[in-house]
C-alpha cells in the first residue's frame, strides 16, 4: 500500500440568507436530480431554512454565505454585518441582492451597499451552473473567474438564430454573459435579467428596440429593469 492517501476534504459549510426575494436563487442552487445528491456530499447547507431544519447557533461560522434578496431593515443590516465579520466568503446572489430587478424603487438596499461582498452573481435567477461553480471555487479556496462579454456573443457562439434580425426586441447586445443565452436558445428574446455588461451601448440598444416596435414610453424601463447603480432606476 502506498503511504500517500488522498484526504477527503470536509464539506463546504454554506449558509443561505433570504432577504426580500422570491427564493428563486436558492432554488436554482437546489436544482438537479442525481446532480443535487452529488452536490450535497461536498456542500453542506449548514443553514438553509428552505430545505433544512438544522439551525446553527448564532455564533456558528460558515465557509460561504450566499445572500439572496434586497435589504430592508436595521435587523437585516445587523445580520449582514455579523455574518461579514466571521465569514471568509460572502456573496450577493441574484438581481434583488445586486440592487436591480423587480424591487427597484421600493426603498430597499443592495447587499453591497451594506457590507463588502466577495462576489456578485447576477441573474433573475442565476443559473444552477453559476452557483455550483461559485461553491466549487470557494471549496478550493478561491473565487470563479469573472465572466466578461455579453449574451449576444454566447448566442452567436452557439449559432442560434438572431432574434433581433428576426425583428424581436432582444436585450442580448447589452446584457452580461454567463447564462449561455438560455432564453434566446429557445427563441425567446433576452429580457436582460443579468444586468448591463460593461461595454453596453445604450444608445444603439435603444435604437434597435425602437426600430423593433418597442413603445417609446416603455423603452427606458425595458432597458433598465435589471440594470444596477448608475444605470438603474433610483433605488
Amino acid at each position: 500500500m502506498s503511504g500517500i492517501t488522498a484526504k477527503v476534504p470536509d464539506p463546504l459549510q454554506v449558509g443561505v440568507v433570504k432577504l426580500a426575494s422570491c427564493s428563486g436563487c436558492q432554488l436554482s442552487l437546489l436544482a438537479g436530480g442525481d446532480g443535487l445528491i452529488q452536490r450535497l456530499q461536498w456542500l453542506q447547507l449548514a443553514r438553509c431554512t428552505l430545505i433544512s431544519s438544522a439551525l446553527p447557533q448564532p455564533a456558528a461560522c460558515f465557509d460561504l454565505v450566499l445572500v439572496e434578496g434586497a435589504v430592508e431593515s436595521a435587523a437585516d443590516r445587523e445580520l449582514l454585518h455579523s455574518l461579514r465579520r466571521k465569514t471568509p466568503f460572502l456573496v450577493a446572489v441574484g438581481a434583488c441582492a445586486l440592487g436591480s430587478g423587480v424591487l427597484q424603487g421600493q426603498g430597499l438596499q443592495a447587499v453591497a451597499d451594506v457590507v463588502s461582498v466577495d462576489a456578485c452573481i447576477p441573474g433573475c435567477p442565476p443559473s444552477t451552473t453559476e452557483l455550483v461553480t461559485l461553491c466549487g471555487a470557494v471549496a478550493r479556496g478561491g473565487l470563479p473567474a469573472a465572466v466578461t462579454g455579453v449574451v449576444c456573443i454566447e448566442c452567436r457562439a452557439q449559432e442560434i438564430r438572431c432574434l433581433l434580425e428576426a425583428g424581436l426586441p432582444c436585450l442580448g447586445p447589452i446584457t452580461r454573459a454567463g447564462c449561455q443565452a438560455a432564453c434566446p436558445a429557445r427563441g425567446i428574446p433576452c429580457e436582460g435579467c443579468r444586468g448591463w455588461a460593461e461595454e453596453a451601448n445604450e444608445a444603439e440598444m435603444r435604437r434597435l428596440l425602437l426600430e423593433r416596435g418597442v413603445d417609446a414610453t416603455l423603452v427606458d424601463r425595458k432597458l433598465r429593469q435589471f440594470a444596477e447603480g448608475d444605470h438603474g432606476q433610483s433605488v
Partner: protein
C-alpha cells in the same frame, strides 16, 4: 400565560408559530408570516400591462408559472383578447410541470424528512436513498417541462399577454414525452410513501369552507360564485402579528389547496391535515396522466400570439395553483396602464385554517420538547409559501 415564538423551517419563506402556554399546556397559537413585504400589488401600478407578467412571476419562484399564467389571463380578459389554441395548450403544459415540481419539492424535500425524523433531505439520503433520488429526478422532470414550455424553469419568459412567444423544439418535446411515459408507470409505487395513513401522526378534520376554482367560477364548498365577486367571498383582514393579509368567509376559515380540491373524491378525512400530502401525491399521478395525454393530441402551432391593443377594462382570473386558489385582478386605463391590481394567494387564504388545525390537533397538549416540532409539521403539511403570502402589505 407564557408565549414563545418558534421559527418555521423546511417551508418557503420566513415565518414563526407563536405557542401560548397556560399551566404547562398549549392554550392558543398564532401563525405569523414574516417575509419582507415587497408590495407587488403596488409596484405594478403605473406600469404598462405588457410589463406585468415579468414583474408578477417574481412574487414567488416556486409558483412563478402560476402567477405568470393567471396574470396574463386576467389582463387578456380586461383587454378582451382570446389567445390562439397553441398558446393556451402550451400554458397548460407549463402548469402541469409547475404542479409536478411544486408538489414533489414539498413532499420529498420538506415533508419526507419528518417521516424519518430527519432535519433535511441530506440526512434522509442515508435512510431512503432510492426514494429520494427518484423524487429529485421527478422534480427535475417538472423543471424540464417548465423550461421547455415556459423557456425557463423559474420566471418563464415565454408567457406574454396575447399568447406565447415561441413553440418548443420538437426534439425536446419528444424527449419529455418519453420521460413522462416512464414516470407514469413508476409513480404509483412511490406515491404510497405519502398516501399511507400510518406515516403520519394523528390529525383531525376541521370545520372550514373549502375554496377551489374551475377558472370560470370560484367554488365555495362546491357552490359557484362569480370570479368578479371574489371580495364578497374572500373577506380580507390585516392583523398586527402576520405580514400577510388573512382571509375568511363570514367568520369561517377557508381551506384551499390539494386537500380542498380532493375533499369530495377521497376518504382521506381521517388523515386530518396530512390529507393534503396524500392528495398532492395523487395529483402528481393525475398530472403525469394529463401530461402524457397532452402529447397524444396534435397541436396546430401556426399562430402563437394575437395582437393586443390597449383599452380600458377590468379583468379577474383565478386558477388552481399547486398550493391552492390563486387570483389576480387588474384595472387598466385606456392607454393600457395598470390603475389597480390585487393578488390573492393560497397561503394567505389558508392562514386561519392553519391556526384552527393547530388548535384542533394540539390544544391542551403538554408543553414538551416535541410540541414545536409537531406544530411545525402541521403547518408544513399545508405547503405554505410565505413569499407568495407576504406580497401585499404597503411598504413603509
Amino acid at each position: 400565560m407564557a408565549s414563545r415564538f418558534e421559527l418555521l423551517t423546511r417551508i418557503e419563506g420566513a415565518g414563526e408559530v407563536q405557542l401560548q402556554i397556560a399551566d404547562g399546556r398549549l392554550a392558543a397559537v398564532r401563525v405569523a408570516m414574516l417575509d419582507i413585504p415587497r408590495g407587488f400589488d403596488n409596484l405594478v401600478r403605473g406600469r404598462h400591462f405588457s410589463e406585468v407578467p415579468l414583474l408578477v412571476s417574481r412574487v414567488c419562484a416556486i409558483c412563478s408559472a402560476a402567477h405568470r399564467v393567471v396574470a396574463v389571463r386576467a389582463l387578456e380578459q380586461a383587454l378582451q383578447v382570446t389567445v390562439p389554441p397553441a398558446a393556451a395548450a402550451l400554458r397548460e403544459l407549463l402548469l402541469l410541470g409547475a404542479l409536478i415540481e411544486s408538489h414533489v419539492l414539498h413532499l420529498f424535500l420538506l415533508v419526507y424528512p419528518d417521516l424519518h425524523h430527519c432535519a433535511s433531505v441530506t440526512e434522509l439520503l442515508a435512510i431512503a436513498p432510492d426514494q429520494v433520488k427518484a423524487g429529485l429526478e421527478l422534480r427535475q422532470l417538472g423543471r424540464r417541462l417548465q423550461e421547455v414550455a415556459g423557456g425557463r424553469a423559474i420566471h418563464p419568459p415565454n408567457v406574454v399577454v396575447g399568447g406565447i412567444i415561441a413553440w418548443p423544439d420538437q426534439n425536446e418535446l419528444d424527449s419529455l414525452s418519453a420521460s413522462l411515459c416512464g414516470w407514469q408507470k413508476q409513480w404509483p409505487a412511490l406515491q404510497t410513501i405519502f398516501t399511507n395513513a400510518e406515516a403520519y401522526p394523528a390529525s383531525h378534520p376541521i370545520a372550514v369552507c373549502t375554496l377551489t376554482t374551475d377558472a370560470a367560477y370560484l367554488l365555495l364548498d362546491s357552490t359557484k360564485r362569480p370570479l368578479a365577486a371574489y371580495a364578497e367571498i374572500l373577506n380580507g383582514v390585516d392583523v398586527d402579528y402576520s405580514r400577510a393579509r388573512q382571509y375568511q368567509f363570514d367568520g369561517v376559515p377557508i381551506l384551499s389547496g390539494a386537500r380542498a380540491r380532493q375533499a369530495t373524491d377521497h376518504a382521506d378525512a381521517a388523515l386530518g391535515v396530512f390529507a393534503n400530502c396524500a392528495a398532492q401525491a395523487r395529483e402528481i399521478g393525475a398530472a403525469l396522466d394529463a401530461a402524457v395525454a397532452w402529447f397524444a393530441d396534435e397541436k396546430i402551432t401556426e399562430e402563437l400570439c394575437c395582437p393586443v391593443t390597449a383599452a380600458a377594462g377590468r379583468g379577474v382570473a383565478a386558477l388552481e395553483a399547486p398550493r391552492g386558489t390563486l387570483l389576480h385582478a387588474y384595472r387598466l386605463s385606456a392607454d393600457g396602464t395598470v390603475l389597480e391590481a390585487e393578488i390573492i394567494t393560497p397561503t394567505a387564504i389558508n392562514q386561519l385554517a392553519m391556526e384552527l388545525q393547530l388548535m384542533t390537533d394540539l390544544q391542551g397538549a403538554k408543553d414538551d420538547a416535541g410540541l414545536a416540532t409537531r406544530a411545525a409539521q402541521i403547518i408544513r403539511a399545508f405547503d405554505p409559501c410565505i413569499s407568495c403570502a407576504v406580497h401585499r402589505v404597503e411598504r413603509r
